[in-house]
């Protein structure tokens, strides 16, 4: 590890080490080289000092969504967090996502998200069309496509104060990621959930807790894919719900636009 690159320095890391119950923030010094990211240092820590350090990762390219953690208290992908963001003297604290139970060190049990994912009724195929016969205009699917960029890192879920600060709300609130999934299907030009008796905005309210969201936009702030979660998914969903639930005058004048 002797300074192969001139820019190398000893970085100070403070990492949460522990299991489901107990643990501590432990201080380490690790070599850092120019251009590296926090995940690189965690790996070097693993390779040189603590082989039992648990950390999830896969792609190191910000595309698999595995390496989510909190760096200096901010929910981030560790593989996309450059060391150059921090001063060389600064102690960088790395902790597991706060909203989910810790399994070991930086690894969390994120099954809450999979439970919520299953609760969203799937895309409902249009009647009379076989898969492969679907024809859609680009402009009709554009909005839903933005939401498909999601890499399921669950940083938005982690940072949303509705469940981060109030775990009792986990029961009734599905979080921005899955409200966005409802919005994606609600805006889908070929989804026929409604013709089959469903009502996605109403389900967003009743089953997924849309009303808990107070549009304070932290999900949008942390999303590594820069999806406009609040502006393009949550607020439009609230507006569609308002159409049918909170706008008695509008209902007199408008038919539902499809």
């Amino acid at each position: 590890m002797e300074g192969t690159v001139e820019m190398g320095y000893r970085a100070r890391l403070r990492v949460w080490r522990g299991d489901a119950d107990s643990g501590e923030l432990r201080d380490y010094e690790v070599d850092a080289e120019e251009g590296e990211v926090v995940l690189d240092l965690l790996h070097r820590l693993q390779a040189t000092q603590c082989p039992d350090l648990a950390v999830r990762w896969n792609c190191k390219a910000g595309k698999c969504g595995s390496c989510s953690a909190e760096v200096n208290g901010r929910p981030r992908l560790t593989c996309m967090t450059r060391m150059s963001l921090f001063g060389e003297e600064e102690t960088i604290t790395v902790t597991p996502m706060r909203t989910f139970p810790v399994i070991k060190d930086l690894v969390c049990d994120v099954s809450y998200n999979y439970v919520k994912a299953r609760e969203v009724p799937a895309f409902s195929p249009p009647g009379g069309l076989e898969p492969g016969e679907y024809r859609m205009h680009q402009r009709d699917v554009e909005r839903s496509q933005e939401f498909r960029k999601c890499i399921e890192c669950f940083l938005c879920q982690d940072t949303c104060h509705v469940i981060r600060d109030h775990s009792e709300n986990k029961e009734s609130f599905s979080g921005p990621r899955f409200l966005m999934r409802v919005a994606e299907l609600e805006m889908h030009p070929l989804d026929s959930h409604e013709e089959k008796g469903g009502n996605r905005p109403e389900e967003a309210r009743g089953d997924h807790g849309l009303g808990f969201c107070n549009i304070t936009k932290c999900c949008t702030e942390v999303c590594p894919e820069h999806i406009g979660i609040t502006d393009n998914a949550l607020i439009p969903l609230k507006e569609r719900l308002a159409d049918q639930r909170y706008d008695p005058l509008g209902r007199l004048f408008r038919r539902k636009n499809r």
Binding site: V102, H161, H166, F212, I235, R240
Partner: protein, 264 residues
């Protein structure tokens, strides 16, 4: 930091953020607070809002709808009586204008964060024991935002009229001064803020699933969406411009200094 030794203790640490996360909410609180104080003082000051020779009407007093209005300031008639000296004319209009801002999706974010600390900043624990968001009264009423949007359209229309008639000189012919230009900037920002509203974006086209069948509304939705991306900026710019233009008209009406006339 007293070192946490369990995961639940780690969760109780308010935040591990090391930046000055408290600065934006503090700035927001000061900005909004200053506006509210100015608005209150100005409303109950109840004078210096009309400059007859240049037809300047202060935005806080527009439209002026009560018998208490000074002569010439009521362009739309006076449907409301002069109730009492402590019921100045803005009392009839301000609830709608403030209601629009109060239920605005951007301002909600701003004051939930800065005044209610819910949350104060991202990944900073909020101080409240329970949280129900906008699921119940009174906050569920935020859902009526679109009605305030309709009212705001009317008010923006009235302020446009105020600006048009301010393009006159003391002799009644065409003319304008610095005040007129300020009013023009203000009304442009106000329209920008009003049309970039999320409810506007929804109503104008966002509610449609098949854009391809509604090309005109799709086009309008695209334009409003682009404006909507600047909604926060427009919210602050128009808030500032309303207060500044109001202050300017007040100073001219009070005779603090003469309006620099650029033409007639």
């Amino acid at each position: 930091m007293s070192a946490p030794t369990t995961t639940s203790a780690l969760r109780r640490v308010r935040t591990l953020r090391t930046d000055r996360w408290w600065l934006p909410p503090l700035g927001t609180a000061l900005g909004l607070g200053a506006f509210v104080v100015y608005g209150l003082v100005r409303t109950f000051m109840n004078q210096w809002y009309w400059v007859p020779e240049y037809h300047y009407l202060a935005p806080f007093f527009s439209p002026c709808l009560s018998d208490a209005c000074v002569p010439g300031a009521s362009h739309l008639g006076t449907p409301f009586p002069d109730l009492a000296p402590w019921v100045p004319p803005p009392v009839f209009v301000l609830p709608f204008v403030l209601g629009f801002r109060l239920t605005c999706y951007y301002y909600r974010k701003a004051y939930y964060r800065s005044f209610w600390a819910s949350p104060p900043a991202c990944a900073v624990t909020e101080p409240h024991r329970r949280y129900t968001g906008e699921t119940r009264f009174p906050l569920i009423m935020q859902n009526v935002h679109r009605y305030f949007f309709y009212a705001a359209l009317l008010v923006a229309g009235v302020l446009t009229y105020d600006t048009v008639i301010a393009f006159r000189g003391p002799d009644g012919g065409f003319g304008f001064g610095v005040g007129t230009l300020l009013m023009l900037i203000n009304v442009v920002l106000l329209w920008g803020y009003t049309l970039s509203c999320h409810s506007c974006r929804h109503l104008i086209g966002g509610r449609i699933n098949h854009f391809s069948k509604h090309p005109v509304r799709y086009r309008m939705w695209t334009l409003v969406s682009r404006l909507n991306g600047h909604h926060m900026g427009l919210a602050w710019a128009s808030l500032l411009s309303v207060a500044l233009v109001d202050l300017y008209v007040m100073l001219i009406a009070a005779g603090a200094f003469p309006d620099p006339r650029l033409f007639n």
